[in-house]
Structures are given as structure tokens and as C-alpha cells.
């Protein structure tokens, strides 16, 4: 397979077929918490793309330089450290260099530290022993999948808001039901790419 078809299939596979939120159920808390408005959902999604891409690149290097064969069991804790520090660094730099973006992202940026999708991608690609290129494709694809899922969700939620929902379903319950239905819809992508 040529390079571009590998790239394309890799991104499609990570973004849609194995969507991080809707088929692997990682990163649910920002997915539910920050999907009230499309504008904030887009902000959160782009912030996640940036952080996932950076963090998987750095964790790949750390994994291959420091965590050799006999230190594999330290992956989780080291990756958490790296991701937390990375988010902090990005925040500090943004605050100085691009204050408008920093203000727009607001509280979402530090929230990404606790987004398990970020850690999930780093650990997953380390465990599957991907090459650096594969890791990058996988992480960008996953992050794009998160953006797609959260923006779709916010669009649906904006519409749900004005509907006449039964009292007991108001608020979070209807959102969870919606998320379940979306997951079923995304299940339809299974099998579109061999494997």
C-alpha cells in the first residue's frame, strides 16, 4: 500500500471506525461536560487535537529513550506526569503569547489534563509498539475523532434544549441516551475497513 492510502486509512480508522468516544468510551467527561454549545465544543476539540498530537510525540520519545524493556511498568505514571506538565507548559506559553486563544479556551485547557483519551492514545500506541509515523497518524486521527464526536453532540444538544422532554429525562439523562444512540450509529462504521 502506498504511503497516502496508509495515512488515509489510518486516520479514517482512528477517527470514525474506532472513534475514541463512541466506540472506545474514552474521554467521556469532556464529551458530556463541554458539549453544551457548539462554539465551546469546537474550542475543546481543537485544544484536544493540539495536546494529543504533542503528548503522543513526546511520550513516544520518552518511551523509547527512558522506558526500555525492564521499565515498561512505569509507563502509566510517567505518561501522566508528562501529559500534566505538557498541558501546563502549553498553558503558560499561550497565556503569554496568544492571550486571546488562552481566554477562549479558558478552563478547558487545564481540563484536558484529566481527559483520559490523551493518556489512552499514548499508552495504546506504546503497547501496540507503533512506529513514530504510525503513532502520529493514530493520535491525530483519534483527536479528530474526538472533535467530530463532541461537535456532533453539541449540535444535537442545542436542538434538544428547546424540545419538550419528559421531566425525568431532562438534563444529563437525555444526553446519555443521545450518546448511546450516537454510539450505535458509529457502530455502523465497523467492518468498512478490513480489520
Amino acid at each position: 500500500m502506498s504511503f497516502f492510502s496508509t495515512l488515509f486509512l489510518g486516520i479514517i480508522s482512528a477517527a470514525l471506525v474506532n472513534n475514541v468516544v463512541l466506540s472506545r468510551f474514552l474521554g467521556l467527561c469532556p464529551f458530556l461536560g463541554v458539549s453544551k454549545k457548539t462554539s465551546t465544543a469546537v474550542g475543546m476539540g481543537t485544544a484536544v487535537i493540539a495536546v494529543i498530537t504533542l503528548s503522543s510525540a513526546i511520550t513516544y520519545v520518552i518511551d523509547h529513550v527512558i522506558l526500555r524493556e525492564n521499565l515498561r511498568y512505569l509507563r502509566t505514571i510517567v505518561f501522566i506526569l508528562i501529559i500534566a506538565a505538557l498541558v501546563q507548559t502549553v498553558e503558560i506559553i499561550l497565556k503569554k503569547k496568544i492571550p486571546s486563544l488562552y481566554k477562549a479556551l479558558g478552563v478547558y485547557l487545564p481540563l484536558i489534563t484529566t481527559n483520559c483519551a490523551v493518556l489512552g492514545v499514548a499508552i495504546d500506541s506504546a503497547q501496540k509498539s507503533y512506529t513514530f509515523a504510525e503513532t502520529m497518524i493514530y493520535s491525530v486521527g483519534t483527536a479528530v475523532g474526538f472533535l467530530i464526536a463532541i461537535v456532533l453532540m453539541s449540535g444535537i444538544r442545542e436542538r434538544i434544549e428547546h424540545n419538550d422532554i419528559p421531566e425525568s429525562f431532562k438534563g444529563m439523562p437525555i444526553v446519555l441516551v443521545t450518546a448511546g444512540l450516537m454510539a450505535i450509529a458509529f457502530f455502523g462504521f465497523k467492518g468498512t475497513i478490513g480489520g
Binding site: 505514571i77 508528562i82 507548559t89
Partner: protein
């Protein structure tokens, strides 16, 4: 046995120290100069982001006070305005603790409905219905809880079709005052011993027909008040809290028992 533990500790420790150093250097290098007054003012504000001041939140209001010269007395829940004044070099007096008060007694027992209003979602919509909602009194509380839904402190409850303010939770931010279509909620001093629990400007006879607990504007309170704190205008008694001493004679004499404060059943 002990060696792998030590190796793990060493690896994590070294990584943490490096990360700590990097973060420390970064935060110094990319330091953003913030006005220390902004932080100090922010600490004095209520910090509940109720939006009663008209700004997007406490951070935005603190920024506006320090940089844009905004009026520093707008934060209703904050009672240390003199301290904000001291920070900003202005002479501001501390304000009295205020509280929201619903000027209506028309619960389901006291008043009756003219018709059945079934779209019970928002008082502001009900207000556009004939007679300003289903209740016979056109001035009364619609009881659909728009004030309760906007209260950032969860201090308002609808009991028997009438809004009640929980005095322990209310911070007098004034958000409810602006949403009530009947303008029934007033911010009064918390020390106020007595207040008129009615807003009906109808004549006595009409009030009696609509509600058993309304102010009929008889003027008894005005006559009995020794301090001249009560005036009856447009068939409705009004208390001047700067003159009221809290003697309670008005409440005693009121034939409709509409002068009261606190939770009435």
C-alpha cells in the same frame, strides 16, 4: 528485591525534578504581568459569578473595576466594599446586608384561579395571557418559578404557587428582580422587621374579591405608625425602611395581615 523499587523511584524522581525545573523556568520566562489590585479586588468579591453586577463574572468585574474604572459598588453579595474602595483609592461605605423579598401573599389558599393555565413553564410567557396569568389578581405571583430557575444561589422555592425566598441562601444579587414580569421582588434591608407582602394597586373591594390576603389600602398602618414610615399610595401601603423602627404596630393593626416578614403560611 529492593533494587527495582529504587530504580523506579529514581526514574520517576528524576523525571519529576526535570519537569519541575522546566515548568519553573517556563513560568518565570513567560510571566504575565498582572495588576495585583485585580487579584485583591477579585478576592473581596462574592466569587459566585452570579452576574448581578452586569459583567460576565467576578473575574470580568474585577478587571473592569481596576482597568476600566467600573463602579465598585455593584456587587450586591459583597459587604466589604470599603476594602475595595481602599484598594482603588476611593472612599466607599460598606453596604447593608440586603435580601430579596416577594411582595405577594397570593398562594393557592388565598387566591383563586380564573382559568386553567396549562403551559406552566415561564412566568414571562404566562404574563402575556389574559389577566397576567391564571390567578384572579392581576398583580400577583404567577408561581411558575422563573425567579427560582434563574437564582444562582438556589434560594427561591415555589410553595403553594407562590415564590418564597430562603433568607439564609439569598445574597440579594437581584437577578430574580429583573426576570419577574410583575416586578414583585424587591431588594430590602435584611434587618427590616416588617414589609408589605402585596403589590396590588387595585381598589379594596377588587382586592378582596381576588385574594384574601391582599392590601386593601385602608390606611390603618399609616395612621398607627408613630414614625411616619408608612405611606399608602395607589391603594398600596409602602414602608420607608430608613424610618421604620420595627415596633410592629402596623402588623398588629393590619386587618388583612399583609404586613409581615419571613415565612408565612
Amino acid at each position: 528485591m529492593i533494587v527495582p523499587i529504587l530504580i523506579a523511584c529514581a526514574v520517576i524522581g528524576v523525571i519529576s525534578i526535570i519537569i519541575g525545573l522546566v515548568l519553573g523556568v517556563m513560568s518565570e520566562k513567560f510571566k504575565v504581568e498582572e495588576d495585583p489590585r485585580e487579584h485583591a479586588v477579585r478576592e473581596l468579591l462574592a466569587g459566585s459569578n452570579c452576574g448581578g453586577c452586569g459583567y460576565a463574572g467576578c473575574d470580568a468585574y474585577a478587571h473592569a473595576i481596576v482597568h476600566d474604572g467600573a463602579d465598585p459598588t455593584l456587587c450586591a453579595p459583597c459587604h466589604e466594599k470599603s476594602k475595595i474602595g481602599a484598594i482603588m483609592g476611593l472612599d466607599i461605605k460598606d453596604t447593608e446586608k440586603m435580601i430579596a423579598f416577594v411582595k405577594c401573599s397570593g398562594n393557592c389558599h388565598n387566591t383563586v384561579d380564573n382559568y386553567i393555565y396549562s403551559d406552566g413553564k415561564d412566568c414571562r410567557i404566562a404574563y402575556t395571557a389574559p389577566g397576567h396569568g391564571a390567578k384572579k389578581c392581576v398583580y400577583g405571583c404567577c408561581g411558575l418559578g422563573t425567579c427560582a430557575s434563574v437564582c444562582p444561589y438556589d434560594a427561591i422555592r415555589i410553595v403553594d404557587g407562590l415564590a418564597h425566598v430562603d433568607r439564609t441562601k439569598c445574597h440579594a444579587c437581584g437577578v430574580c428582580v429583573s426576570v419577574c414580569p410583575n416586578r414583585l421582588i424587591e431588594i430590602i434591608p435584611e434587618r427590616a422587621a416588617y414589609a408589605v407582602r402585596c403589590s396590588s394597586r387595585s381598589k379594596g373591594k377588587d382586592v378582596k374579591a381576588a385574594c384574601s390576603a391582599g392590601c386593601i389600602g385602608c390606611g390603618m398602618c399609616q395612621r398607627v405608625c408613630e414614625n411616619g414610615a408608612i405611606t399608602v399610595e395607589n391603594n398600596l401601603a409602602k414602608i420607608d425602611y430608613s424610618k421604620c423602627t420595627g415596633c410592629g404596630k402596623c402588623a398588629e393593626k393590619c386587618p388583612c395581615k399583609v404586613i409581615t416578614v419571613g415565612h408565612v403560611e
